[in-house]
Point group: C2
Chain length 289, copies 2
């Protein structure tokens, strides 16, 4: 292995420390303590774990933890009312609706009830539109975390060829917009791309968010490229990403491990967004990241 | 010259005829006649011409023409009130705020007062967000017109390498989203791209919306590629695009002329959007284009 590892755990810790410091400063200046409201509908065990981790991280950063739990049978209107109540509460800086919601609910419509300045997941139509228009706003946590990782490792984005594999609303699409805003030349590949390896070999920075275990091998990576793996899959021998790590680490200059790469950044950026939202609501300019 | 020409004038005529037929059908079925409201602030001569052409095309398609003219000195609130009045009027299917507005006005804020189902220019934050999320909505006229041209000439987009030069909110960015929705592998290039010609040579379909006269020459075009030129510049010897037409026509398989290529499609798609908006407001599904 010749690649250096991108240590997402360490960078995430740094972000969380920064946020804790920022929270303390805001309060010391007489501002309101930032607060994150998590909404969990139903009892999906994975979602329970995610929400618990978010709440703990939030408390550890000195923020207030508001949590609302609804039964699997909750109607659209009930969830909407909870969102409306949290939207009106100025103690609540950020509102996070844990996805997926039960199938009988319309998650897009629910998300669109979250005011865009409390939309700490960056998933409401208004924040998605603001990102696409190049206007300030709250950005989705995972792609924003990847930009932060690249910045920490001083990977230049302006003028770089960035290839994003995957076009999901959660990662691929906003990822492409974020690196475009940083002046990268960006290519979006996906399941219908004719020659995926060829397209990927152009990349100075290759970001893989395809959701397909071990899709990307050595043949898809230019020597010296930076490779970011967003995938996480549980296999017989532990966790795997979308990238064949052993192979790719032979040719890349920098690579994210799985676990310990992109994963830890998501919650860190959620905390970051919650602090930014609190500042925004208390009179600062909208976050421009 | 070996390339075939893409005849935008002919396709635009076809679209306008289709719209006129659609309007007549809607009315025959007891629906309301679609109506387009144009708002012109100030007396920029070019904007006057554009608005006049839009109003004429609208009337020619059998739609109602609502026009509001405001002085250069109009305040933000006055323009907002005009928009609010048109938004509340169910005879008005589409609202178009002619850009640019005088510099003392905040055009983004004004656009965001247009209800998204009357936003026939596809420029409000909600429609931009819906496009980026892959949800139905009204699409910006020029990029939607380019997709229509490509369809008319049976240019396959699924799996194709599409390169978009330019990342404006009006053309480049929505163009990339539209071809991504049609399953193209899409690259966005711009002024910071390191080797523009090299990136462009990958394209099966090259769409140039850089706003730089004659930027793209033969060296940037793969033999057999389809080239779409969105630029229009007045020079000593008439109109030019962003593409060096004579050179590129030697290697491309299909190319849009300037004028008579993309230009005529913009108003045609505005009419198309106005009819779609009218249908949507009268109970049809949101336009999925």
């Amino acid at each position: 292995m010749s690649a250096r590892l991108i240590d997402g755990t360490a960078v995430a810790r740094r972000v969380r420390d920064e946020v804790a410091k920022g929270v303390a400063e805001l309060v010391a200046q007489g501002g309101r303590t930032p607060g994150l409201a998590t909404i969990l509908v139903g009892d999906d065990p994975a979602s329970e774990v995610y929400v618990r981790n978010k709440r703990r991280a939030c408390a550890a950063a000195g923020m207030r933890d508001f949590h609302r739990r609804l039964p699997t049978t909750a109607r659209q209107e009930e969830v909407r009312e909870v969102i409306a109540e949290l939207a009106a509460d100025d103690q609540v800086s950020g509102i996070l609706l844990q996805l997926p919601v039960p199938a009988h609910l319309d998650s897009e419509a629910l998300l669109d009830h979250i005011p865009y300045d409390k939309d700490v997941d960056g998933l409401t139509v208004k924040n998605v539109g603001r990102l696409a228009q190049g206007r300030p706003g709250l950005r989705p946590c995972t792609p924003a975390g990847i930009v932060r990782l690249l910045d920490e490792y001083e990977v230049p984005l302006a003028g770089a060829e960035v290839v994003v594999v995957g076009r999901s609303v959660l990662v691929g699409r906003p990822m492409a917009q974020l690196v475009l805003a940083r002046h990268a030349t960006v290519t979006v590949c996906h399941s219908r791309t004719k020659d995926l390896a060829e397209a990927c070999r152009r990349a100075d920075v290759l970001i893989v968010a395809a959701g397909v275990p071990q899709l990307i091998g050595r043949d898809a990576v230019r020597r010296g490229a930076v490779v970011v793996d967003v995938g996480i899959h549980r296999g017989d021998e532990g966790l795997h990403g979308d990238v064949r790590f052993e192979e790719v680490a032979e040719v890349a200059s920098l690579v994210t491990p799985v676990p310990g790469g992109v994963g830890p950044m998501t919650i860190a950026m959620l905390l970051h967004n919650t602090l930014e939202a609190a500042r925004w609501q208390q009179g600062s300019a909208a976050p421009a990241a």
